[in-house]
């Protein structure tokens, strides 16, 4: 009888706390960027019995919306409102400051939950693998973005923008355009954004006047989108240089442009910019120079400042058609240098595996079939039970925020199919501990969890500090400051 009462009490407690049936589907999403939040949203919607816990290694949610989207793109960050509504749902919880791999292992997580979705993105960089890559003054664009966006791991970058007037950016995608824009845009315009204050102070004293954006291929293959290109072409007091001869199209280029609206419009914008003459060349003007058909061969070391970069040695390239109308850059054996004191490599992000996770090191992704993690990529019939991926970890570091919407839809529909087949929750099996188990384990390991309401404290403190400086927020850019705001 007593046992029954306890049972009933527990049932009641469970119900009143979670607001759902006593036997919920326990789901854990690792990573709270767009891929993680869209996955959570779609899981909650598709499965009324689902209880979704989102964990993140940072005390702050929203991933690249917070630390990737440029400070002068506040409209792009509005999606945070939607994600916050998801986090505030009764069946959803956020646990920040929880690192997969150190706070909790993947196998522990899979023990606790019926479904684990990894959406922790790509926190490392592809490397060029060429001589001199470790010289001072060479950074990955990701580090630079983290630095100006106040990521707590980005504060120590301290790029020296005073020793040189020239920066070379390798790559011509949207990240490359973002960092170029931050280097060139008048700081008075950046001052009213949520840019990290340490970055603003450094940029205000910047001596950078010339920025090169260098691509291996031509203007018809540039990886940026029209919005970002239009924006950088329109910055005040910046002269744009593009060699008109680079814009000539080969029949293969025309073929490529025909089938790609984005590239077609990007090419049009570049052509227009190349035709219009520089506004007024003066001493205080800044310059943006697009350079096409160059691939970096090695980095040169400064003679005056040992260990520091002084230039990039480029090999000229031509395009060669490969399959499906794609063209790749081939070196011509002809070389050219660009002198510079700073290099930002914007050649792609790379995901990092954790223990016990199948990983394709060549592609930098987790082998998967529509989001189902595969231990043997050649055999999609045997997926890892209950383990899924979404976002950059699943498909590589490309696309925009909305791409994750479709990516999450695909992963969630795979989960739904597997649930229907009955593989995930065998009826005879014991209930999974889910959230209660996670909290217990983290407590035992002395991990200080940051809840969503803790984040709201950080949020309101950042907004308060921001309002004092006419900024939408002043990001707390160190771990210490973040912890202090919630203690």
């Amino acid at each position: 009888m007593q046992k029954f009462a306890i049972f009933r009490a527990r049932r009641w407690l469970c119900r009143s706390f979670s607001g759902i049936s006593s036997n919920p589907l326990r789901v854990c999403v690792v990573g709270s960027g767009p891929a993680g939040f869209y996955t959570a949203e779609k899981m909650l919607k598709a499965h009324q019995q689902a209880q979704v816990d989102i964990v993140d290694r940072l005390p702050t949610p929203f991933g690249l919306v917070r630390s990737g989207v440029a400070p002068d793109h506040p409209e792009t960050k509005i999606v945070i409102n939607q994600f916050s509504r998801v986090a505030q749902q009764e069946r959803c919880s956020f646990f920040g400051n929880v690192t997969l791999g150190s706070s909790i292992s993947l196998s522990e997580l899979r023990e606790l939950y019926h479904v684990v979705v990894l959406a922790y993105g790509a926190e490392s960089d592809r490397s060029l693998g060429i001589p001199g890559e470790n010289l001072k003054g060479i950074h990955s664009a990701r580090e630079f973005v983290w630095w100006y966006n106040g990521h707590p791991d980005g504060q120590n970058l301290e790029p020296d923008l005073k020793i040189t007037d020239t920066a070379v950016i390798l790559g011509q995608g949207n990240v490359a355009l973002d960092v170029a824009r931050i280097l060139l845009r008048p700081t008075t315009e950046l001052a009213t954004t949520d840019i990290a204050s340490h970055a603003l102070a450094t940029l205000e004293e910047s001596c950078i006047r010339v920025v090169y954006l260098v691509g291996r291929r031509g203007p018809a293959q540039a990886a940026c989108t029209a919005k970002e290109l239009r924006e950088i072409l329109g910055i005040h007091n910046v002269d744009i240089f593009i060699q008109e001869s680079d814009l000539l199209l080969t029949p293969l280029d025309e073929e490529e442009l025909k089938s790609n609206r984005i590239q077609r419009r990007v090419h049009e914008l570049l052509s227009k910019a190349a035709r219009s003459k520089p506004k007024h060349i003066g001493l205080n003007q800044r310059e943006l120079r697009f350079v096409f058909f160059r691939k970096p061969n090695d980095f040169q070391e400064s003679k005056e400042r040992a260990g520091h970069v002084s230039g990039v040695h480029f090999e000229k390239t031509v395009l060669q058609g490969v399959s499906h109308g794609k063209q790749i850059a081939i070196g011509t054996g002809e070389f050219e240098d660009i002198k510079c004191g700073m290099v930002l490599k914007s050649i792609g992000y790379k995901s990092v595996p954790v223990d016990g996770l199948p990983f394709d090191h060549k592609k930098g992704i987790v082998p998967n079939d529509r989001g189902r993690v595969l231990s043997d990529p050649s055999d999609p019939t045997v997926p890892e039970k209950g383990l899924y991926v979404c976002g950059w970890l699943k498909r590589g570091p490309t696309g925009i925020i909305a791409t994750n919407l479709y990516c999450a839809e695909e992963t969630v529909s795979s989960i739904s199919e597997d649930l229907e087949k009955g593989g995930l929750i065998p009826s005879s099996a014991l209930e999974k501990p889910g959230r209660v188990g996670l909290l217990q384990l983290l407590h035992d390991k002395n991990v200080r969890i940051v809840s969503f309401s803790d984040w709201e404290k950080i949020d309101s403190e950042e907004r308060r500090l921001g309002s004092l400086r006419n900024k939408p927020r002043e990001k707390l850019a160190t771990w210490d400051k973040l912890y202090k705001a919630i203690s």
């Binding site: 607001g19 759902i20 049936s21 009324q48 793109h73 409209e75 792009t76 509005i78 999606v79 409102n81 939607q82 749902q89 009764e90 069946r91 989108t225 029209a226 919005k227 239009r230 025909k258 609206r261 984005i262 419009r265 925009i400 925020i401 909305a402 919407l405 479709y406």
Partner: protein
Amino acid sequence: MLNSKLARVGASVAKHLCTRNCTSLCGVGYVRTGRYRYLQSPFQQHSFTKLHKGAMMERHNFLSTMTTNNTTEEGSEEKETISVTFIDKDGEETHIKVPVGMSMLEAAHENDIELEGACEGSLACSTCHVIVMDVEHYNKLEDPTDEENDMLDLAFGLTETSRLGCQVIAKPELDGIRLAVPAATRNFAVDGFVPKPH
């Protein structure tokens, strides 16, 4: 001029009455599902109330449209509405009334129609992408701006009659417009659309 306008309003009232019947039937359906779900969980209770409210609002709108149409005859065009049909991913149609001046994104959200709007209408994403289902209506829209085209570049399942829902603003000429959420169009052809030769 006035006569033709009155005729158009009259036609829209007739059309309206017709679609209204259909919508209210759907409305009943919604409420029923809602009630059933309400028994399942408190979370659902919320959506039940919302849906129920939605149904009530539709009814209210209907009445106000009637009065509006009367006042139109007296010369005032305030609160004029147009009929809009949304076709969701599964091909299900929802008929709504949208006040002139309101964007299709807002209208969808007010009527609980599933249409993403990540940037809340600030022209910084492509998630409210809709496909205008007939070329005639599409041609009555202002041409998209460069900024809208920049976002359409990134839209999933782009077609020749794609627009962003936040940029399509209700105006009398658009009465009867049909808008599909992208996945729905996989099995549809856009009425009267002839693919342009490349």
